[in-house]
């Protein structure tokens, strides 16, 4: 459903993503992990067609995103981190706009909007301007817009940031339901606990390079210690800084 081959993005002398090879199948809930600045958002933006790779290729739903971007985008849903929405539109109007952009037939669009607004508990404030929405509510609107055209692959960049525990749980359930329907969900997150419980497979990226990919069990084998938590594996693979942190804190105290 999703594959990349030697996918690379450079900004001048800075290499944000380097020769990334990924394979994600249909119905998978794939977790994409990495420290700040590791290249997660850049990778997702390349996969949804917002950034052009410097080299390498990416196929989403069997379509080359560089060769046929419009065709691929019609099959993709995308939820950015801290989505900037149109402040002077209401949630319903924004979803109508999104539906039209994705060529959803209008009666079907309106039915789906009603259902999604209810699902995300937004129906009571559906006519309020988005400028008055909290970050979590905007995130929900963003996710509703991404689901409106029934995409085959859903990309979510830090989807749980700003959500209350109840909404985060609800989002987790929705994503798992989508996977059961055979759709692919590609999630980047910092919250390892969520990734550990939700994802069928995981990839860890550090400084633009893929350092590990597989199920949680496979990652445990990779670091050679069964029973380790994802947090421990993550720190092991991305370079633990515990000693450095303690040294700096001691320096601040003196």
């Amino acid at each position: 459903m999703l594959s990349t081959r030697l996918l690379t993005k450079r900004y001048g002398s800075l290499t944000a993503v380097e020769e990334l090879d990924l394979e994600v199948g249909g119905g998978e809930l794939f977790g994409f992990l990495g420290p700040n600045g590791a290249g997660k958002t850049t990778t997702i933006k390349m996969l949804v067609g917002l950034l052009r790779p410097t080299s390498g290729s990416a196929r989403v739903a069997g379509i080359d995103i560089r060769a046929e971007p419009e065709k691929a985008k019609a099959r993709i849903g995308y939820v950015p981190d801290a989505a900037t929405l149109y402040d002077k539109l209401s949630a319903r109007e924004f979803l109508e706009f999104s539906g039209d952009l994705y060529h959803v037939e209008r009666r079907l669009r309106d039915r789906r909007i009603d259902a999604l607004l209810k699902l995300f508990d937004l129906h009571e404030r559906a006519n309020d301007f988005l400028s008055g929405y909290s970050r979590g509510m905007r995130q929900k609107v963003s996710l509703a817009a991404a689901l409106l055209h029934d995409p085959q692959v859903l990309f979510l960049d830090e989807p749980t940031v700003g959500l209350d525990p109840q909404s985060a749980r609800q989002m987790k359930d929705i994503l798992q339901d989508l996977c059961k329907e055979g759709k692919t969900v590609f999630v980047s997150t910092h919250i390892l606990e969520i990734a550990e419980r939700m994802c069928t497979r995981l990839a860890i990226i550090n400084r633009g390079r893929l350092v590990a990919m597989g199920s949680l069990q496979e990652l445990r084998h990779m670091v050679g210690q069964d029973g380790q938590s994802l947090e421990q594996i993550f720190l092991e693979l991305t370079g633990s800084r515990e000693d450095d942190v303690s040294a700096v804190l001691r320096g601040l105290e003196s």
Partner: protein
């Protein structure tokens, strides 16, 4: 509701808070200077660096010009005996400056309280609230000092050289520093009270409305009191020569403008003792008001600075606009509808839309009867029909610039919504062209129709002229959208800053080329008909066809260039 963030209250010594304000103010000033440098010469972006250098060169040129004019004025005053009441003239200047101070301080204070996020950051720091509020006043005073020196510095240096008195720039600089203090403090305190009556989330709108009121007020005042405009404006009193407006109380010894005027006049005639005396009086008053105002601001803030008016909830019924544009594809229609909603709901955008129309009525309305008589005097025919298009062309210039150039940038950071959708950039540009061309063409057509009805050049001439105006509205707005795409700015939410200065320059240039070429072609067609004996209407139609064809070609080319530019951008 927005409430005062947690901050440190100065319980022990409010004066310490006031003194701390100077420190905070200088700290803020340094940070703002650093940001200015980072965004200009320190940006490492060639375009910005060149822009900064060009800006600096323009300032130096203006300074040179100002110094020369001052020098010539001084020499002229030495040669002719003109008696001028310097005290009154300078007091009047300071009183006029007070108006500028009130306006700029109100905008600055409301901006600081309602829109700028840095106030929360400052209040969270371990400074008394008085220090933070005083710090902001200090920044405003320093900013005004810098602007005053920027505008009058060369003149002051020229005066110092001409009068062999190096104290002139120093005393004026001291007056520039002290005079704004009382205005800035009073306005800051009033702003804290005013904020209570501004609904939550409507700060930007209120500031825009305020700006519009000021703009109209300034223009109206200018029209009423500027001798150059007044005499040909509402009425002219026969036999009365034009004169500057006067406020006799400006130089009164009980007004700060009188103190500043006396100090400035004294140093110009070389009497530094008197100059110092009046400046010291201003210093004492400014210091007292600064201390009292700062303490009062702190008390007001801690008493519950809050936007107490809740936001209005929108009605649950939404207008369905989907069916309004049945001939457009859903993607194009959705862009047109979204842009219409954004423009009409955001007051700052709405002002850009409405103000040109208001000014058209002001400009043409005030001279209406004379203009109408002059054009009607031409009788029926193509010349009158063409001249009747003038208001429509002025409106087209204004709307195409304000709406067309901002059409693409209007998306701002939300551009990702479109970029992630399965549509090409050309489709996006088409949608933008429709969203600008539809309202512009409609308004231009209405203005052209009204003008043609009033002038009555003959229905055939009028109909073709109106069609030309509509066609030009469509082609020129398309051209402007394309230029806006080439110079797109997605980082700005302010309607003014969405327009790139170079884009405005090119857009205006192309507008005048396209409309000028049209007018020229129409003129040539009339001359050709007169010289060759061809039917005038035939040559007129031919000229209109060529004119519209040329406009369409220019717009199409512009659209292709704009599309290439958008395609080359990474809009994530």
């Amino acid at each position: 509701m927005t409430s005062a963030p947690c901050c440190v209250a100065s319980k022990a010594n409010p004066i310490a808070g006031v003194a701390g304000g100077l420190g905070v103010g200088l700290l803020l000033w340094r940070a703002q200077l650093q940001m200015f440098i980072n965004q200009t010469v320190g940006s490492r972006k060639p375009g910005r660096i060149v822009g900064s250098v060009v800006g600096a060169a323009v300032i130096v040129l203006a300074w040179t010009w100002e110094a020369i004019i001052t020098w010539v004025g001084v020499q002229a005053s030495h040669r002719t005996s003109v008696s001028i009441d310097t005290v009154h003239l300078l007091s009047l200047a300071f009183l006029g400056y007070t108006g500028v101070l009130v306006f700029s301080s109100l905008v600055f204070s409301l901006n600081a309280l309602l829109l700028n996020p840095d106030l929360d950051l400052l209040l969270a720091a371990p400074h008394p609230v008085e220090s933070v509020l005083a710090g902001r006043m200090v920044v405003q005073v320093l900013r005004l000092l810098l602007l005053s020196l920027l505008f009058t510095g060369p003149a002051l240096l020229a005066l110092a050289v001409a009068n062999s008195n190096p104290l002139i720039p120093l005393v004026f600089a001291a007056l520039y520093l002290l005079y704004p203090v009382f205005v800035v403090v009073i306005i800051s305190v009033l702003s804290l009270l005013l904020v209570r009556f501004i609904p939550v989330g409507r700060g930007r709108e209120i500031l825009t409305l305020f700006g519009v009121a000021i703009a109209i007020g300034i223009n109206l005042l200018n029209f009423l009191i500027n001798p150059a405009l007044r005499d040909s404006g509402f009425s002219r009193r026969p036999g009365v020569p034009p004169a500057l407006p006067d406020v006799p109380a400006a130089s009164a010894p009980w007004l700060p403008s009188g103190w500043a005027g006396r100090s400035a006049a004294a140093i110009l005639r070389g009497d530094w003792t008197v100059a110092t005396e009046w400046a010291l009086l201003l210093l004492a008053m400014s210091a007292a008001i600064f201390v009292v105002g700062t303490i009062l601001s702190g008390r007001l803030y801690l008493a519950g600075w809050i936007q107490a008016v809740p936001p209005r909830r929108r009605q649950s019924t939404t207008r369905r606009l989907d069916a309004a544009l049945p001939l457009l594809s859903p993607v194009l229609a959705s862009i047109v509808i979204k842009d219409w909603r954004m423009r009409t709901r955001d007051l700052a955008q709405l002002v850009r839309f409405v103000m040109p129309v208001v000014f058209i009525f002001l400009i043409f309305g005030l001279r209406f009867s004379r203009l109408l008589d002059a054009v009607r005097g031409l009788g029926e025919g193509p010349a009158a029909a063409m001249l009747a298009l003038l208001p429509a062309w002025v409106l087209l210039l204004s709307l195409s610039i304000s709406l067309g150039l901002t059409a693409v940038s209007l998306e701002g950071k939300s551009i990702w919504v479109y970029a992630a959708s399965p549509n090409t950039t050309l489709r996006f540009l088409q949608g933008k062209c429709w969203s600008v061309a539809l309202p512009t063409a409609f308004l231009v057509a209405v203005v052209a129709l009204v003008a043609e009805i009033l002038i009555r050049p003959g229905w055939l001439w009028a109909a073709t002229a109106i069609l030309l105006a509509i066609a030009q509205a469509a082609t020129i707005t398309t051209l402007m959208v394309a230029i806006g795409a080439v110079f797109a700015r997605f980082d700005w939410t302010d309607a003014r800053r969405m327009m790139h200065p170079l884009g405005v320059f090119i857009g205006m240039g192309l507008f005048f080329i396209v409309t000028g070429a049209s007018a020229l072609l129409l003129g040539i067609s009339l001359a050709l008909a007169g010289a060759t004996g061809f039917p005038t209407f035939t040559t007129w139609l031919a000229a209109i066809t060529i004119s519209v064809g040329g406009g369409v070609a220019a717009a199409a080319l512009g659209l292709l260039i704009g599309n290439e530019r958008l395609r080359s951008l990474e809009l994530g």
